[in-house]
Amino acid sequence: MANFEPKIVGFLCNWCTYAGADLAGTSRIQYPPNIRAIRVMCSGSVDSVYILRALLEGADGVFIGGCHPGDCHYVSGNYKERRRITVLKSLGLDDGRVWIRWVSASEGKRYADSISEMTSYLKRLGPNPVSKYWSL
């Protein structure tokens, strides 16, 4: 397990976290390359099905990045996503593989730190067992 590299699917909001990730890059902040970023217009557009699908396909983690509460470009998308994630986590499947973080466009460091933190957490947790279930 020493060289297990978790695969993280990232859904990053166009207005904050994606720009934050960009800033992390242009500021040359180092962070693990384990995240595969997908740009979405708003964290509120990330339906639970996208998250479930990534996990059932064997992703080791899903990261959702949105604007800080109160800063949503569409006023309330992140508040609604916050509720949706809460519903998703109460389906009884939560073992810490779904992370949501508010990262603004100016928080390149926070983005890099979040990804580092999540990567090392998943390394400790090990591979997503679902990736081996054939009967789903």
Binding site: G70, Y79, R82, R84, L93
Partner: protein, 375 residues
């Protein structure tokens, strides 16, 4: 607004007494039509029927213990494009009214000019059990009333009904009461809204004066809650092994989507899971199979159930029609009822309780769930 009267029952024939009340609703022109459960000519099942005159009212049986379909969906079909100009009476069980309220909030139905007549629900049998009872020559409704009167548990009832904590209709204009009422002699008729009261004014039924109703109702409900909690702890035990135990339950799903079609809450005209998103290249299947060694076909059945659950759990009324419609005997009621209850508790939301309460996923509070996203 609350007015309680009795419909007198002759020769212990509860069904006939209720039907004569329904007949006079049409006769007095208080409603222009009635949506009611009616026995089919073969007598071994019941369908919803929209009646504008009272020919055939004899076959109407609003206490028939079977629920092939939720009338909430039927009312949605009838009122989605426009609402009624003249009053239409709809006779519903508690789960159907609660689902209807959710559909109105989802903008899929209109309550305008509907006269909602709720009936106390003593539970329903699965369609096949109901048919078997009929074949044995018994009237399932009489049997159920008799068993209820004796106070016995009927373990043949659908699981959903055995654990249902809402036997009494809420949000109805009129309620036909059976629980805590000596229904061989009298049936309770109660108005809960102004609309309902206006109807009762047109009749001269005697006052209801049996005080034991409330006590019996709360006793009955607490028995149901006990059973519900047993179901919850069963579920907790079965899924304590984590992901695999819960997910393997959906392995036998044949992807027929019956559960989605009968679900009164699943309202999408075009389901995401039936969209071209789930049409793949032939090679893609091989790629998946290679990755896991083998994959189960049809694919994506677990995703379908979990996805559906995450979409409708906030509004699930626990009618259990999903389980009744499942050809693979997946214990959907147990899973959906438990998960939905937990989800609804988070938002202190009870589906069907109040038309004014917004749906949890369409609203938010700024100062809630503060810890999410801030770790």
């Amino acid at each position: 607004m609350k007015k309680e009267v009795v419909i007198e029952v002759k020769d212990a024939k509860a069904k006939e007494a209720i039907n004569s009340f329904l007949e006079s609703l049409l006769e007095k022109n208080l409603v222009s039509a009635l949506l009611v459960p009616r026995e089919v000519p073969s007598k071994d099942n019941v369908v919803q029927s929209l009646m504008t005159n009272y020919n055939g009212l004899k076959e109407v049986n609003v206490i028939s213990p079977v629920l092939p379909v939720s009338s909430a969906g039927i009312i949605s079909e009838m009122t989605r494009l426009s609402s009624y100009k003249n009053p239409v009476g709809v006779v519903l069980r508690s789960c159907e009214i609660r689902a209807l309220i959710e559909l109105v909030k989802l903008k899929q139905a209109s309550l305008d000019n509907l006269l909602i007549i709720g009936v106390d629900c003593l539970g329903t049998y699965s369609v096949s059990d109901y048919q078997n009872l009929c074949k044995q020559g018994n009237s399932p409704s009489d049997e159920l009333l008799r068993k209820f009167k004796e106070g016995g548990e009927d373990t043949k009832l659908r699981k959903a009904c055995q654990v249902c904590e809402y036997p009494i209709p809420s949000n109805a204009d009129l309620v036909i009461g059976l629980i805590g009422v000596d229904f061989e002699k009298n049936i309770l008729l109660k108005s809960c809204t102004e609309k309902g009261e206006k109807i009762l004014e047109k009749f001269s039924f005697p006052e209801f004066n049996q005080s034991k109703r409330e006590e019996s109702v709360s006793k009955y409900i607490s028995k149901k809650i006990e059973k519900r909690d047993t179901l919850f702890s069963e579920m907790k035990e079965e899924t304590s092994g984590g992901w695999e135990n819960l997910l393997s339950v959906f392995s036998t799903c044949i992807n027929c989507h019956n559960c989605m079609r009968v679900c009164p809450i699943c309202y999408c005209r075009e389901c995401f899971f039936e969209s071209p998103t789930f049409e793949f290249d032939s090679e893609k299947y091989l790629m998946w199979a290679e990755r896991k060694g083998s994959i189960k076909m049809p694919r994506d059945t677990t995703l379908f159930h979990l996805g559906r659950m995450s979409h409708m759990a906030t509004s699930c009324v626990g009618c259990g029609l999903c389980e009744q419609a499942c050809p693979s005997n997946i214990p959907l009621l147990k899973i959906f009822k438990t998960v939905s209850y937990n989800v609804q508790q988070i938002f202190k939301y009870v589906p069907g309780r109040d038309l004014e309460e917004p749906l949890p996923l369409t609203t938010f509070k700024e100062d809630e769930l503060r810890s999410v996203g801030e770790e």
